[in-house]
Symmetry: C2
Subunit: 372 residues, 2 copies
């Protein structure tokens, strides 16, 4: 018996050694290929710089999206498509930084979700700079101090980021891309709170709804109290020894609460959406979205007139958001996202038709759909 065990161990050991050798061989091949790729990127930069030393652009959002989409389509496994795309994002980021690192301004401070989104979209080699306010991100991009900016636009728990929307109305910036981050919810309480003594749980109503199953299973007797925001929930819990909050990690740090249980959301689709903004328009990648601001006069049938061209030309609207007009002259302002690129014929027809009925139509940008 002992002998048999030994034989199996020896067999295992030799298989492990063989696998290790194979991994080393594969790594050597990957090393050569990444180096070849970096050499190609070097040559691309040379050609572009020779053609236009002043305005050579090395980073093309549509090209990156195409590469990632192609990689995911051809991915044989076992790694998930998202993981493989993230690896290629880093390979592209390293190759690009070898030519010229991308400089990006984002809504700071450091350590926020917007910084995470910046790295997710541009890779670890990006040079990112935190800005204290959304308009300052816009300003840095407009002034040419950075190539791109990253701002939050939509949170599945708290809705749209109105300040970002409003800034688009008055700015000449283009949307060049989008990126989503998954946001986790945690149960948190003060350091002296015992889990079995918790009788009240505060959170935003949507967060409570998102964690309902977990709460039913694990805290069935605690009262659930909806408050205005998750940050307010965390703040309230500070003064109460028998209550807990459901909120994001940042709130636990801000209000010095301990995380009792991580990731208590029932479904993992709680996400925040960010936009990449830049000075240049982005060509079609083959899988694009377009964002518009449309002003409509406040008259009967305005919304119907707005929606009609999309239906007529078969353009798929993915978001419609209305905002009070800042000029206050009795118009509505709508933010619209739809599938397609302004270079496509049905999109052009839709826009032409919209322009006939709307007070104003402003294309914020066509850009590749968020890849990972």
């Amino acid at each position: 018996m002992s002998d048999q065990k030994k034989t199996t161990d020896a067999k295992d050991e030799s298989e492990l050694l063989g696998l290790r050798d194979e991994i080393d061989r594969i790594d050597g091949d990957i090393l050569q290929l990444i180096s070849q790729r970096a050499k190609c990127a070097e040559r691309v930069a040379e050609v572009k710089l020779k053609a236009d030393p002043e305005h050579a652009v090395f980073y093309r959002p549509e090209r990156e999206a195409q590469v990632l989409n192609r990689i995911m389509a051809a991915n044989p496994g076992p790694l998930a498509n998202e993981d493989m795309a993230r690896l290629f994002r880093e390979i592209m980021s390293a190759c690009l930084a070898h030519e010229k690192p991308i400089e990006v301004a984002y809504l700071g401070p450091e350590g926020t979700f917007t910084q995470q989104a910046t790295k997710k979209h541009f890779g670890q080699w990006v040079k990112s700079r935190p800005m204290p306010a959304i308009d300052e991100v816009f300003r840095e991009v407009e002034a040419g101090a950075v190539q791109y900016g990253v701002v939050p636009i939509e949170n599945s728990t708290e809705g749209v980021v109105n300040h970002t929307l409003d800034t688009f109305i008055t700015s000449n910036i283009h949307i060049c891309g989008e990126v989503e981050l998954r946001i986790h919810q945690h149960l948190m309480a003060g350091p002296n709170t015992k889990r079995d003594k918790i009788t009240r749980i505060y959170s935003h109503q949507q967060s409570l709804a998102q964690c309902r199953k977990w709460l039913d299973a694990h805290m069935p007797h605690a009262e659930r109290i909806a408050v205005n925001s998750n940050a307010e929930a965390a703040k309230r819990v500070q003064g109460e020894w028998n209550s807990a909050a459901i909120a994001g990690e940042l709130a636990s740090e801000l209000y010095d609460l301990d995380i009792i249980e991580s990731n208590v959301e029932d479904s993992p689709d709680n996400s925040t959406r960010f936009l990449i903004i830049g000075r240049e328009e982005v060509g079609p990648s083959g899988d694009d979205k377009t964002s518009l601001v449309v002003s409509m006069r406040n008259e009967p049938g305005a919304l119907y007139n707005l929606l009609k061209p999309f239906k007529e030309f078969g353009v798929d609207m993915t978001r419609l958001e209305s905002r009070p007009s800042l000029t206050g002259n009795w118009t509505y302002v709508f933010f619209i996202d739809f599938v397609g690129h302004t270079s496509e014929e049905n999109v052009q027809k839709t826009l032409a038709s919209l322009k006939q009925t709307a007070a104003d139509v402003k294309v914020l940008g066509s850009y590749p759909k968020g890849v990972i």
Copy 2:
């Protein structure tokens, strides 16, 4: 002339298309190889799990260090060794996470340098959990709630992190690795401060020294005032319209200062060192360091007796740090780092000799030298 330009453009265009095709082909090959690598890692996990379902360990610090060192030695360029190693770190991180993500506790909050160090060492796929204090990181590791912990140990500006050293004395945790992060210094001031009006610059003395050349060249007329810490410098500047501070990015956020100029340090070797801690000892990688705590009685020749064995057996000491003994019984406690692994003969001889003269010798761990 115009015609000639056109021909060049067409030639450039066709070369760019060719390069793009070549990059696509290379990407396809990299995709296949990474997938093969992930399959090998899957098989390694199967074999290990079959042999020991309870204690199978998928992450081996010494093996990772060997892979990275081999990659850097074989790197043909043009990417820098550090960039290539970072890419392979991510490839390993993704393959490992496909089997079982590593869970790591670090000194929080999120967004700190310790989190950056955690991601640098374990890659983006690590599951990391912020802890409010250094001893809690130790406790999580000891309790088995996480596999590894990451704590700061040394800052080239502000010296050693004594709290981490002290925790090692009373803990049974092993050091499994080290990682360095480069820290940048910035010139910062309040939002109403004009750069040409700055007459005073506050910072820690070491930071002022590190930025001396930059200050001589760009702010020759501003008075330099040394204060206790960079954070204090930033705080002082808050109330003064004609002064600036040199400090890290976090200080600018904490005290709402604008960064006037980034990376003003003269040499880029301003770094902070972090330790990876775990429950298991790490085998030799071929390029290792060992950390010790040695207690010596307060008697004549103690320091000489401490140093002698290292010299005798040719062991290269890289750091010697003395701390007051916490037990207060008239002994000195020394923290020592040296090059080598406890499995090496000269190291074993050194330790045996040390044990004859020292009151106590505790090996904190042998671990691979920080690779990137």
